[in-house]
Symmetry: C2
Subunit: 266 residues, 2 copies
Amino acid sequence: MTFSGKIGIFDSGVGGFSVVKEVLKLIPNAPIVYFGDTARTPYGTKSPEILKRYALEDANFLIKKGASIIVIACHSAASCATDFLREKLDYPIFEVVTPSVNEACKLSKNGKIGIIGTRATIISGIYERLIPLKRSDAKVFQRPCPLLVPLVEEGWLKSRETRMIVRKYLRPLKEKQIDTLVLGCTHYPLLKPVIKEKAGKRIKIVDPSKEVSKLVKNYIDKEGGVSTSSFAQHEFFVSDLPAHTTEIVKRFLGKKIPLKKETPKD
Amino acid sequence: MTFSGKIGIFDSGVGGFSVVKEVLKLIPNAPIVYFGDTARTPYGTKSPEILKRYALEDANFLIKKGASIIVIACHSAASCATDFLREKLDYPIFEVVTPSVNEACKLSKNGKIGIIGTRATIISGIYERLIPLKRSDAKVFQRPCPLLVPLVEEGWLKSRETRMIVRKYLRPLKEKQIDTLVLGCTHYPLLKPVIKEKAGKRIKIVDPSKEVSKLVKNYIDKEGGVSTSSFAQHEFFVSDLPAHTTEIVKRFLGKKIPLKKETPKD
C-alpha cells in the first residue's frame, strides 16, 4: 500500500511555500495541495480566536480539494489553532512548532534558545511553554520581528537596511548568550544568509520548514511511501491574487508557478 | 437645522485614527463612529475586487451604527472602491484621495508631484489618473513603500533604520525633482518628521487626513454645523483586538481610548 492522498499545506499567505519547497526536496513525487489565505494575510497580527476560525476554514478547504493530511505552515496558526483543529478534524495534522522545539532542544548545548517570529507567535508563548516540557534546563528568549516579513516581500533579502534591522532584532538574544535560534516564521528562511551572518557562527539555526517536512516524510514512508509511478499533480490556491504575488512566490520556490484564486468561505 | 447624525469613518485597521484626529481638531463636537477592519488588515496588499467587497461591508456596518456620512480613511479602499460605494449606497461618501489630489495640484509649482503609499494604492494608479485631469501639465512620480506601515506599528518613528528606509524610498522621487509629496497612507503622518527631513525643505507635504477633514467640516457647516450643546459620543469598533492594538492607537491619538470588538460579517 502507498500513500494515495494529497499533502494539504496551508499558510496565511505565500510564506508556506518555504514548506512546499522542503517537502518537495524530501518527497519529490508527493502531490501537494496548497492554500494561502492572501485575502486575510497576515495572520501574525490577529487574535487567537480569529486564527482558530480561519485555520479551520483553511483546513476544510484543503480537505475538499483532496488533502488527506494537513500541514499548518503558518506559525501563528500553528501556535494558536493546532489543538483546535485536532479536536475538529479527523485527519493527521502536522505543524511547524513541535518539530522545531524538538530540534532546538536537541541542538542546544547551553540550553539557551532564541525564538524570532511574528507578534502573534511570540505572544502566544507556545515556544516558552513547549521547550521546558521537552528540556527542563532550557531557557527561552523571544523577540517579535514584525519588519522581517515586509522586508522579504520587498525583496530586500540582503540589503543594508535588512542587515541593520536583523542585527537590531538579534542583539538582545545574543546578549542572553543563546546558542540556538528558531526561525519562527515561514518567511524567515529567505533571510537565512543575513540571519546566519548576524547571529554568528556560535548560534545554530533551526528552520521549521525543514523540521516539519521530515515528519511528513516519516509519516508517508510509514504509509508505504508515494507511488513512484504517480505523476505529482500539484494545486496551489490563494484567496486573493494581487499583482505582485507570483513574483513573491518565485522568491520562495526559485521559479514561477501557476496560482489559482479561490476563497474557502465568504 | 444642525447635523444630527454621526460621522462614520472606516479604515483597514488603526491608521484611520489619523483621520479621526484631524476631524476632531476641526469639528470637536462631531460624534464619530469608527470601524477598523483589524481582522482583515492590511488592505494594501489585496486586490481591487476584494477591497470593494470589504469596503461595502465596512460602510454598511457604520450605517447600522448610526453613521449618516461615510469617510473612507483607507487609501487602498478609497483608490479602488469609492465609485462602487457611491453606486451602492445613498449616503455622502468622502475619501482621502480626491482632496489630496486637489491640494497637491494647488501647492505644486513645477507640476512634479510625488506619491508614496502601499502597493495597492500605487498599483491602482488613482493618483496618476486624477492629477492630470486636474492639472494637465502635472507629472506624477510614484513609489510603493510597504515597510513604512510596519515601521510605524513597531513604534520606530525616528529610528536610524526608519530614516535610512525613508531616504531610500524618497531618493528616486527626489531625483525626479518633485516639489510636492502626497502621504498616500493613513499611517504616514506619524512619520512626518522623518519624511520632512529626508524630503528636504523644497518639497511640500500633503497630508490626506487633513484634506479630507476639511471637506467633512465644509459639508457639516453647510448642514448647519454640529449642535454645540450636544455631547460628542464616539464609538470605536475594530474587527479584531490583538494585544498591541490599544498601544498602536495611542501612537495616533496621543491617548488611550476604549476599542470595541465587533465583526461586520462572517
